[in-house]
Structures are given as structure tokens and as C-alpha cells.
């Protein structure tokens, strides 16, 4: 549990795994039911589900705007809004929102990604109505107090620095930027220090008014609540907004990352290797096969990369593969921590494992194990109401709720042969971008 929304906020790495929902077993009936989806006349979507595993409720408002919607002079504005929305509205002075949430024992958090931005609270279930009123208020009435903005600007500049101090996060960020540049998915979600320093209240307010419109809003409510009551509260708050959504710019085709390389000198004594391939977006057919393939390749201590590159060859201290899906793009990354002298050997060893999977495919045992992993990821997700709510919010903003609910059944239909085909289609031996962190001053 990381206590600050700001530490978590740039959840740019969100795997398709977050989307798994199996055929809801007997269990879902015990804990709740299927989610209900309703669209209000103003365009706001409400997704709600009763879930009584504990007496809390997750309330999340998702906006269909994020890093990919930013013009060159707007870089970082989605993220700045994320920081500013809980600061205050016309009727809620700075600081009062946090005091209200925490004063009833609740928690808040917010995240910015390329495709969406969302604001989350978890409250005792009997405060659900207050929570919805609060989210509706910040959705349209944020005031962007000048003093607050000036302070938060500093905080965001600090955040940029802090991210650089964490090599794992920084590597993921650099990989994504290198792989997708110059398309919007390659833009820095945190913006640039120049834009952040020069940002005015008016610019921010303009961006907010343009994008924070009802057709861009999704409210997700999961918890120990009565869906009918939630709908009534939502109707008199989110249901009465006005404004129409701007056209979202069409996304350019995802570039081929092949041959893109960056070596970055870093203060750490250990080196980092990152390799990234283009992979299917959420809407593409091959998403399921690629997801299972990624599990087999590098998701667990028994995965191929762990066994081959770490345990047998002893070339790395840690290695893993991850699959990130976006609405119009996706990538699979392999990242490792290792001694600098092993950088080349480890890269070749990763490629050898990739080649082996392309030539020999995957075994039936591996396929079944990957399916169990997928099922388990979902099961652990729904232990908390906010985990389930996030699955729904992400599905609604980048995919569809219906697809989400059918994801696991579809995964079950994937054959080992399809996975081998996906490996050959996506993981070309020269089709990857590479980012390495190299110790400064010849450290070992």
C-alpha cells in the first residue's frame, strides 16, 4: 500500500492482465452480481455492482482523456489536472476534500495514463452518496486556485525527479517513450519541466473545460451498496451535466520499434536491460494469445526467461516480461537487472529464448499453467472493490465492458498453436527497441 496518490499516479504500465474476468463462477453471486451499465442522457456512463465482501465502497470517476490527447504545448496537462482536482471546488476550499475523505476513514487516489485519467475514493459504504457528490463536484467545478497551482507545480517537478531515482519505473517509462515516439503514446505523461513551469491557470482551465465533459465521464461504483440508490444519486449529480465531447484525434499507426536503441548512463552500479516489441492493442484479435505468451515467457519464477536466462545461464539477477495494452497500441517488454559486463550476452540469451518459442511453440502444460495464472490474477483483483472497479473503468474507457466480461472464456479457447503463431508474428528478432542503463564511471 503506497499511501500517496502522487506516488502511484502515473500508472502508464497497465497490463492487459488487469482486464481478466472469467466466467463469473458461483462466487460472483456470493460476493455480488454482474455489473450494471447505464448511460444517462447527458452521456455519463454509470457502471455499478453490488459487492458485499466488506462494508466499503469504491467510487471512481474515469475520464476519456490522457497523455495521448495533449498537443505539443499541452504536455503534462492531463497529469496536472490529476493533481489539481482534489485541491478544491467553488464550495470546497483547499484541503477540505482530503479532510472529508480521511475524516470518515476513507482513502483517495488518482491516476493518469495515455488513454484515461481517473480519480478514486474508497469509503465506508454508508458514505457512498457523499462520495458521488464529491466526484461530481470535482468533475466540473474545480477552481484551480492560483496559490495551489503554484505549489502543485513544484510537486510535479519533484515527481519528475523522483521517478528518475527509481530505475525500474524510469526504465519502463523510457522504453515506452522510445518505442512509440513520435506518436502521442511516446509523449511524456508528466510533461516537460518547461511546460510545467510556464503553465497558467487559464490554460489548465481551458483544457479542463474542453475534456471534462459528460460524454467523457464514466462513474464506477462497486461495493456494499444498492445499485438502485446509486443510480438515483448519480442521476441528480452526474446525470445533469451539459457540454459535448471534442473529437478525439485519430491515432497514428504504432511505429515499428525495430532498431531503436538508447544507452543511458546512470548512477547505479548495476545495469538494466530493457527490450520492447510492438504487440496487439486491446481491440485486436491476438491480444489473448499474446497475453498467455507473455506469462509463459516471463511472468513467474518458472517462466522461460527466468529459467533460461537467470537460473541456468546466470546472466541476470532479475528478469521479467510484461504486456501493456493501450486502446490503439500495445507492447511487450522484457526487463532485467544485471552486471554491465553481461548486457550483450543477456540480450542474446533473451533472443534465443524468443527464437525457441517461435520454432518449438509452447507446450500444453505451459498453456494450462498460463490460464491458471490468468484466472488467479483476476481472482486476486476482485479481493478488493477498488480492484474490480478499476477493471471495469479501464475496460469501459479503452475497450468495452462486454469484452471484458468475456475475456477469460476467450482466453480459454486459445491454442498452443495460436501462441506460437503470435510469437512469430510479433517477436521478430530484429523488431525490438532497446534501452539500457549503463553504470557511470565504470562501476561493476
Amino acid at each position: 500500500m503506497r499511501p500517496y496518490r502522487v506516488l502511484i499516479l502515473v500508472a502508464i504500465v497497465i497490463s492487459a492482465r488487469a482486464l481478466f474476468v472469467p466466467v463469473l463462477p458461483a462466487h460472483a453471486q456470493a460476493a455480488g452480481s454482474r455489473p450494471q451499465r447505464h448511460v444517462f442522457p447527458d452521456g455519463v456512463v454509470l457502471i455499478t455492482q453490488e459487492h458485499r465482501a466488506s462494508d466499503v465502497v469504491a467510487l471512481q470517476v474515469w475520464f476519456r482523456v490522457g497523455g495521448r490527447d495533449e498537443a505539443p504545448d499541452e504536455l503534462g496537462l492531463s497529469h496536472m489536472l490529476e493533481h489539481m482536482l482534489f485541491k478544491g471546488t467553488a464550495t470546497r476550499p483547499p484541503g477540505s476534500i482530503d479532510r472529508m475523505i480521511e475524516g470518515v476513514g476513507g482513502q483517495s487516489n488518482a491516476f493518469t495514463s495515455y488513454d484515461f485519467t481517473h480519480f478514486d475514493v474508497v469509503l465506508p459504504a454508508d458514505h457512498a452518496a457523499e462520495g458521488i457528490e464529491l466526484l461530481a463536484d470535482i468533475a466540473v467545478n474545480a477552481t484551480f486556485d492560483q496559490t495551489e497551482l503554484d505549489r502543485e507545480r513544484q510537486v510535479v517537478l519533484d515527481e519528475v525527479r523522483l521517478t528518475q531515482d527509481d530505475p525500474d519505473r524510469f526504465l519502463q517509462r523510457r522504453l515506452s517513450e522510445v518505442a512509440y515516439a513520435p506518436t502521442p503514446y511516446g509523449q511524456p505523461v508528466l510533461g516537460t519541466p518547461e511546460i510545467i513551469k510556464g503553465l497558467t491557470r487559464e490554460q489548465l482551465a481551458r483544457y479542463y473545460t474542453k475534456h471534462y465533459v459528460p460524454a467523457n465521464m464514466v462513474l464506477v461504483v462497486v461495493g456494499a451498496v444498492e445499485p438502485g440508490q446509486i443510480r438515483a444519486v448519480t442521476e441528480r449529480t452526474f446525470g445533469r451535466f451539459t457540454g459535448s465531447a471534442p473529437e478525439r484525434a485519430a491515432m497514428p499507426l504504432q511505429p515499428d520499434p525495430g532498431g531503436r536503441v538508447a544507452d543511458i548512463p546512470r548512477p547505479e552500479k548495476q545495469a538494466y536491460l530493457g527490450m520492447v516489441w510492438r504487440a496487439p492493442s486491446v481491440a485486436e484479435e491476438d491480444v489473448s494469445a499474446t497475453d498467455l505468451l507473455t506469462y509463459i515467457l516471463g511472468d513467474s519464477p518458472s517462466s522461460r526467461l527466468n529459467v533460461g536466462v537467470r537460473d541456468r545461464a546466470g546472466l541476470v539477477s532479475t528478469i521479467e516480461a510484461g504486456y501493456v495494452t493501450r486502446q490503439f497500441g500495445g507492447h511487450v517488454s522484457v526487463t532485467a537487472r544485471l552486471d554491465a559486463e553481461n548486457l550483450d550476452k543477456a540480450e542474446r540469451a533473451v533472443l534465443a529464448e524468443v527464437q525457441r518459442i517461435q520454432q518449438e511453440g509452447v507446450s500444453e502444460v505451459e498453456r494450462e499453467r498460463a490460464l491458471v495464472t490468468a484466472e488467479a490474477n483476476y481472482a486476486f483483483d476482485i479481493e478488493t472493490v477498488e480492484g474490480l472497479a478499476r477493471d471495469y473503468g479501464q475496460a469501459e474507457t479503452t475497450w468495452t465492458l462486454e469484452n471484458e466480461l468475456n475475456y477469460l472464456p476467450r482466453l480459454r479457447e486459445i491454442t498452443a498453436g495460436q501462441m506460437g503463431a503470435a510469437a512469430r508474428k510479433y517477436f521478430g528478432l530484429t523488431d525490438y527497441a532497446r534501452v539500457r542503463f549503463v553504470p557511470e564511471a565504470g562501476g561493476k
Binding site: M1, R2, P3, Y4, R5, L7, H27, A30, A31, A53, V56, F86, G95, D98, R99, E102, G103, V104, G105, Q107, V122, P124, E148, R151, R153, Q154, V155, L157, D158, R161, L162, D165, D166, P167, D168, P267, E268, K269, Q270, S300, P301, S302, N306, V307, G314, S317, R337, D339, E368, R369, V372, T373, E375, A376, A379, F380, I382, E383, T384, E440
Partner: protein
């Protein structure tokens, strides 16, 4: 995101009990002294186990620092029946994870799985705990990974600052040793030493198993009995008397390390879970550093924009534990941030907090505790932990009452007692020219 953030891995946040209804917990102490706790929870089709052992860096010295954690790293690498690769494959097939680590006063083997595989998970956990192989090549093979982890902790500005702080606060006491060990100690630890350490500490009366999940409680209890009852102590029991910690004097130390942020860690010794001051110190922690409405966050970040991260930690597992404040600031702000922090600590030592602050802190403390205990992995950990530190699995309910009766005067009293003298470590990036 399955990996814990660095601070979370480093610090135990142990807040208070909750409004959520407590599900019944079955507890049994087997005749060999081994304790089993089982909590059936229908929330999700998963199960989590935690085996905790009274073993850790508290019993170590500079010469063998890190041996408990080393033992734990090696224990998942093979049993007399299965090698590490087979274990890893099996657990993946259960939809779960299995890992082990060492800490100061206790060490843990923990696992998760889909609930329908609870029996397999329990069996595998017992096999690791009771039948480790400790083959020399498995043990030696871990050395390099441990050294790499030690290097990573030193490379990371925040973890390096924390480790330095604990070394300063506890001085030559074993609590000042890094639980991962050192570059000097790890190479000297061999298989024979690991085996001897295992015999000394893996004794049934020093161990607790907790299981939480969608499981049939009675069957789980019966299976745990079957698995752990044959366990017998061998070798000589360790001496559990804790050497006294020499009270620290006020000090400030500066280390230079390349980083984007200046890291400031300051704090003092603090009570343990069983102490009567535990609840008031938790309230104090929350007033200062709990949540986004906590004092330090509001004053130093929201109002003065001096720090990006600022939070208070209370680490009560040691005896004595520690209370500390951590802050990450832009290098240009470092000095001002530290001064402002000291001013806040002075203020809480001298001025009683308002009723409103007290009310928010208690609500937030109890609320976050309830939320933290919703997952089965956390439940299993809490159950075993409260048992192993001797306060019992029913501690949350008592603790909640203890938090409710804390007064502003209590907070003032513990602030005076536990926030002076301060040991401070500042990690600064070298000045760029």
C-alpha cells in the same frame, strides 16, 4: 503491479483495527508447540498462507549478518523431494506465488493460490519449511543474487538512507544490521552455517502458520495438524533475551550520493506492539504523516511545496521499535525542508493537537487498517504476526478500543517521549558545478 514499493518493503505500517466485522478465526496449538490459525473468508476464490518463524537479524552479528534472510532465500530453492525449478512450476500451476524472506524479529514463508488448490499450497509450504535440502550448489547459487540485492539497496537513495538511519539509531545492536546482510558477511556464510541456523530456529514452538481464504476451515486445520505435528525440535534453542539498546544521542549525519532528491530520515526509538503506548504512538504517526490531510503532508508539501514525499513511519516489530519521518525534497530545497520538518516536530512536542485533528487521525487510522486487512495475503500476515509477537490474533478488536480512547494529551505525552533526541540522516546529491 505486484512488486511492493521500496518503502513498503522496508517499513511495516501497522495501523489499527477496524469497523469491518471480524470473521471467526480458528486457533490451535499442536502438542509440539506449533501454532495454527485459520480464517475462512468467502470474499474471493483465493487462499493465502503465512508461516512465521522467530528468527531474524536480532540474533545475528556483524560476522553473519543476513544469514536468516539467506536461509529463507535458499529454502525455496529445493527440498529433499523437489528442486527449485519444480517448486516454481508447481506453484505457478496453482495460480499462486511462494516466497520467503528474513526480517529482524521474525522471518516468513508466504504463499498464495487459487482457493481450490489450498491443500496443494499447504503441502508445498510444509515441504519447504520441514524438508529443505540446502544443497551446497543451491545455497551458493543464491549468493550472487543476494549481493546484487544489497547493491540495489545501496544504489537506491531512499533505501540507503533508511539503512544508514537504522545503523545510526541502534548503533552496534543487532537491530542496526541490515536484514539482507553486507558485502562482507554474505560471502562468509556457507551451507553448514545455514543448516546449523535452520536447526536452531526452525523449531515448532517458534513457528506459526496462518491460513486465510475461501477454504473449509475444519479441513484446513486437520491438514495442518497432519503436516506439522510430526515436527520435532533438534539442536539447541536460541537465547531470546534481547540485548539492551543504548539510548541514542541526538545526531546528524550527511552522506553524499548521486540522486535526484535529497533524502532526509529522522527519528527515535519507539514502543513495541505490546506496549501501552502503541496506540497513542500510532495516532501520533497518523496526525503527522497519515494520509493526505496529515500535518507534514499539508504543511511541507501542500502549503510550502518543500518536499515531494513526506511521511511518518512507526516500525514496532523490534523491541524497542522506531518512529521515523522520511522526506524526499528537491536538492535546492533540502536545507529549508529539513528546517521546516524540525519545526513541525518541535511543534507537536510542545503544543497539543486540536480535537478535529485527533478525530481525523483516529478515523483514518482505523479506516486504513480495515482496508489493509481486506486481502487474504494481508490477513494471513496479520494473524501470524500478532501471534508471533505475543499479542494474539484477536488483537485488532482490543487495539481499536485502545485507539478510540487516545486523548490529545496522550499524543502530546508520546510525542515528547518518542520524538527526542532525534537521530537524523541526510542523503545529499553532490553539488553540480
Amino acid at each position: 503491479m505486484r512488486r511492493a514499493a521500496l518503502l513498503v518493503a522496508l517499513i511495516l505500517i501497522l495501523p489499527a483495527a477496524a469497523r469491518a466485522a471480524e470473521l471467526p478465526v480458528g486457533r490451535e496449538r499442536l502438542d509440539n508447540g506449533f501454532t495454527v490459525l485459520v480464517r475462512a473468508n468467502p470474499a474471493a476464490p483465493v487462499v493465502a498462507v503465512s508461516v512465521q518463524i522467530k528468527m531474524g537479524s536480532r540474533w545475528e552479528s556483524a560476522a553473519n549478518a543476513g544469514i536468516s534472510n539467506y536461509l529463507q532465500a535458499a529454502i525455496v530453492k529445493g527440498t529433499t523431494r523437489h528442486n527449485g525449478g519444480e517448486i516454481a512450476e508447481t506453484i505457478t500451476g496453482l495460480g499462486g506465488t511462494l516466497s520467503a524472506n528474513g526480517d529482524t524479529d521474525y522471518s516468513e514463508i508466504k504463499g498464495t493460490a487459487l482457493a481450490r488448490f489450498w491443500r496443494e499450497l499447504l503441502g508445498l509450504t510444509a515441504e519447504l519449511a520441514l524438508e529443505p535440502a540446502f544443497l551446497p550448489d543451491q545455497v551458493e547459487g543464491e549468493k550472487e543474487f543476494l549481493l546484487a540485492r544489497i547493491q540495489k539497496r545501496q544504489d537506491n537513495a531512499a533505501t540507503h538512507a533508511f539503512d544508514t538511519f537504522f545503523a545510526k539509531l541502534y548503533g552496534s545492536h543487532p537491530y542496526g544490521l541490515p536484514t539482507l546482510g553486507t558485502r562482507e558477511s554474505i560471502p562468509r556464510i556457507d551451507t553448514a552455517a545455514i543448516v546449523a541456523w535452520y536447526r536452531r530456529f526452525y523449531r515448532p514452538e517458534r513457528m506459526v502458520l496462518a491460513v486465510s481464504g475461501e477454504v473449509p476451515a475444519a479441513e484446513v486445520m486437520a491438514e495442518a495438524r497432519r503436516l506439522f505435528r510430526p515436527m520435532r525440535a533438534t539442536g539447541e534453542a536460541p537465547n531470546d533475551a534481547v540485548p539492551p539498546v543504548r539510548p541514542p544521542r541526538a545526531s546528524r549525519m550527511v552522506i553524499a550520493q548521486a540522486a535526484q532528491q535529497t533524502q532526509i530520515v529522522t527519528g527515535d526509538l519507539a514502543p513495541r506492539v505490546s506496549d501501552r503506548d502503541y496506540a497513542p504512538v500510532q495516532v501520533l504517526r497518523t496526525v503527522l504523516g497519515g494520509g493526505l490531510a496529515g500535518r507534514l503532508f499539508v504543511e511541507l508539501r501542500d502549503k510550502q511545496a518543500l518536499a515531494y514525499t513526506v511521511t511518518a513511519f512507526f516500525e514496532p516489530t523490534r523491541g524497542p521499535g522506531s518512529f521515523l519521518v522520511y522526506m524526499g525534497a528537491a536538492p535546492a530545497n533540502g536545507r529549508g525542508a529539513e528546517q521546516a520538518l524540525m519545526k513541525e516536530l518541535e511543534r507537536i512536542r510542545t503544543t497539543r493537537i486540536s480535537d478535529e485533528e485527533l478525530r481525523r487521525a483516529k478515523a483514518y487510522l482505523l479506516g486504513t487498517f480495515a482496508m489493509d486487512r481486506r486481502t487474504n495475503a494481508r490477513q494471513a500476515w496479520y494473524l501470524a504476526f500478532y501471534e508471533i509477537v505475543g499479542v494474539g490474533h484477536d488483537f485488532p478488536a482490543r487495539y481499536r478500543r485502545a485507539v478510540e480512547v487516545v486523548t490529545a494529551n496522550d499524543v502530546l505525552r508520546v510525542a515528547r517521549a518518542y520524538l527526542a533526541p532525534l537521530t537524523t540522516v541526510v542523503l545529499e546529491p553532490p553539488q553540480k558545478r
